[in-house]
């Protein structure tokens, strides 16, 4: 089965090829029909450039783009059969919201009744029925954004490109619409690419997340996989809130055990059989590694078995506690579900279980292991 969207070695240069700004570097991905994909990354990581190349607003400097098996990288946008919701809404200011949404349908010569039914359905889903007959200039940013989203979703296209589609919405509405939009897309078997810098949105809506940084696709995997097995240090620290704790460590064998020496004299010792043999060998042969551990996995030791850390902050967020403590020359953050009765300056004992550790190569950042197994 051919993928709904295929990117093959796609490069984007702003300026001459090879000399200009290399915004997107050698992206390869296949997106199956019916999938929702999130392009996740910080500003300037190349996610919007990628989306615009798929839409046809930016020239593809190198590589191929295939939509439903058709090579489209040299076609104008009009012939690619994609729908797009723009970050800046981009509604036509001269016509009402209803006409904005119906524009593409009318261009396809659908009957008035059909157009009306479709527009009303999508408007109801996005809670904009009341403003359908207003002009874009007279409605709020959030409403414009939903109108723009409706204009994209109402169409019958091979691919739906949603650029930061919910950035302007209030948190409650955003949570509600996330679910509805996902249901709408899934119910119809549509294929969608969502560009976002909000990882909650990516996690909630996407089947797979493509993490981008510096124009490079860092990892393209399911939200779970990205959480459990980040491909490299960037994905590990970028995805997850609060971010992964990271320490540089030196692995050594001490009387049959594996010992990790962190900065500031912290030593963590694990019995050798807690790691798979090949991993043990890999860690010991490298020596220098980067150790990562998610804040949710850091525990306060009940007994004195853990390593000492001095509390620098204790924040109750209403549903969880974030504790930051000075540890190994930097800071370790841990998350607990209840209020913690500890004050600044207290010494706590933190415990890092071997199955929660991620190891990365200090030079390349590539993952060495997740938990007790090799990556």
């Amino acid at each position: 089965m051919t993928a709904q969207l295929t990117l093959q070695g796609v490069d984007k240069f702003y300026g001459p090829i090879g000399k200009g700004v290399h915004a997107v570097r050698d992206i390869n991905m296949d997106i199956e029909k019916g999938e929702i994909i999130a392009l996740l990354g910080s500003s300037g990581c190349g996610k919007t450039s990628t989306l615009r190349m798929v839409a046809g607003f930016e020239e593809t400097s190198r590589g191929k783009i295939l939509i439903a098996g058709r090579e489209v990288q040299n076609l104008p946008p009009v012939r690619r059969n994609v729908a797009m919701a723009f970050e800046g809404y981009s509604l036509y200011p001269t016509v009402t919201v209803r006409e904005n949404i119906a524009f593409a349908l009318k261009a396809q010569r659908e009957s008035d009744a059909q157009v009306d039914a479709k527009v009303n359905e999508v408007a109801e889903m996005l809670e904009i029925t009341a403003i359908l007959d207003k002009f874009p200039a007279s409605i709020s940013g959030g409403q414009q954004q939903r109108a723009s989203l409706a204009r994209a979703l109402v169409r019958d296209a091979d691919l739906y490109l949603l650029d930061e589609p919910m950035g302007q919405l209030e948190p409650q509405l955003r949570t509600l619409l996330r679910g509805r939009i996902k249901y709408y897309i899934k119910e119809r078997g549509l294929t969608a690419i969502l560009v976002t810098h909000d990882q909650t949105e990516a996690n909630a809506m996407a089947d797979r997340i493509a993490v981008m940084e510096g124009g490079v696709l860092q990892q393209f995997a399911s939200p779970d996989e990205i959480k459990l097995a980040p491909a490299n240090l960037f994905t590990g620290t970028f995805v997850g809130e609060p971010p992964m704790n990271v320490f540089s460590a030196r692995a050594a064998e001490v009387s049959g055990d594996i010992q990790f020496r962190l900065d500031a004299g912290v030593e963590l010792t694990y019995s050798a059989d807690q790691f798979a043999p090949d991993l043990r060998a890999a860690l010991l042969s490298r020596g220098e590694v980067v150790m990562g551990v998610r804040p949710y996995a850091v525990r306060r030791a009940k007994d004195k078995g853990g390593a000492a850390a001095q509390v620098v902050a204790n924040q109750w967020l209403g549903d969880q506690t974030h504790i930051a403590a000075a540890f190994a020359g930097s800071t370790v953050v841990l998350v607990e579900h209840d209020r913690a009765d500890i004050a600044m300056g207290d010494t706590i004992s933190v415990e890092l279980k071997p199955e929660d550790l991620h190891f990365f190569d200090p030079a390349s950042g590539a993952a060495i292991s997740h938990g007790t197994q090799m990556a």
Binding site: P76, V78, P93, R155
Partner: protein, 285 residues
């Protein structure tokens, strides 16, 4: 506005009155002159009391200029028509060429686009007299001297850069995504230009066209050198009032009133476009 105090409003009123008096008085005086004869115009001290007469206008419209030494033929109405024809045609051609060019300069970043746009603007830097001599020689050689076509061509030096640079700004102010949204919804480049870009830049195009019309109408030097009597616009035609038997102030004044009337009326009519256009922001917010 409601919060302004009475004193502030009075002061503002006075200031506006002073400005209006300062700028409008010459035109008002010319209007009075146009209704008088040379004798009453030139009396010392000048007075605003006189018996108004339409004889200056009559002379202009009939083309018979009465002077002390006899009757002189003038072609003022022909000049007025020339002005109208030259300006309108120049602006129409300027818009036809300039608006798509402005769109290209605003939207497509091609090699040398800035240089070409700047070169077009630089036509406005050069003093007209500098280009007139070579232009006259060329035009005589290729048979464009003393033709409407030649004049309209040369008028593009005035009209085209103006339209290009003003309209380009308006196109640049339209978010490109609005056009992208239209194109991705199944419309081609030209449909987008006609249905989205042109209407959104409409007020700007109107403003640019109006300004270009006024500039073309006011042109003097190109027409003076390149056109003979039957192709001359009013600006040049007014020279005919400086006759052997004296300067015909009354007719000059009437001529001025008649020649500023079209641009004046146009500006009044299009004022709303000008304000709307120059204040921009039609799609912002």
């Amino acid at each position: 506005m409601e919060s302004t105090s009475l004193i502030e409003r009075i002061l503002r009123g006075i200031a506006i009155t002073v400005v209006i008096l300062f700028f409008m008085f010459p035109i008002f005086w010319i209007f009075l002159m146009s209704l008088q004869t040379n004798e009453t115009i030139l009396r010392v001290p000048p007075s605003m009391v006189f018996e108004p007469s339409l004889q200056n206008y009559r002379a202009l419209i009939t083309g018979q200029l009465e002077t002390q030494t006899g009757t002189l033929e003038i072609r003022f109405m022909g000049n007025l028509f020339n002005s109208f024809f030259l300006s309108t045609t120049s602006v129409a051609i300027g818009l036809l060429l300039g608006v798509p060019a402005a769109y290209a300069f605003a939207r497509l970043k091609f090699r040398g686009s800035e240089d070409i746009a700047f070169t077009l603007l630089s036509f406005r830097f050069a003093p007209p007299l500098l280009v007139l001599l070579p232009l006259t020689i060329y035009f005589q050689q290729i048979g464009l001297a003393n033709t409407y076509g030649g004049l309209i061509w040369v008028y593009q030096l005035i009209v085209l850069p103006l339209i290009l640079w003003i309209v380009r700004g308006y196109f640049e102010d339209i978010p490109a995504d609005v056009e992208y949204a239209y194109r991705i919804a199944g419309h081609d480049f030209w449909a987008t230009f006609r249905k989205i870009a042109l209407p959104l830049a409409g007020p700007g195009i109107a403003a640019a066209g109006l300004l270009a019309f006024i500039f073309a109408w006011n042109n003097f030097i190109f027409a003076l050198v390149l056109a003979s009597a039957d192709k001359q616009p009013v600006t040049v035609g007014a020279l005919a009032f400086i006759t052997a038997s004296g300067i015909q102030y009354g007719q000059i004044a009437a001529g001025i009133i008649l020649s500023i009337a079209p641009t004046f009326a146009l500006a009044l009519y299009a004022q709303r476009y000008l304000v709307e256009g120059l204040s921009l922001g039609a799609v912002k917010g």
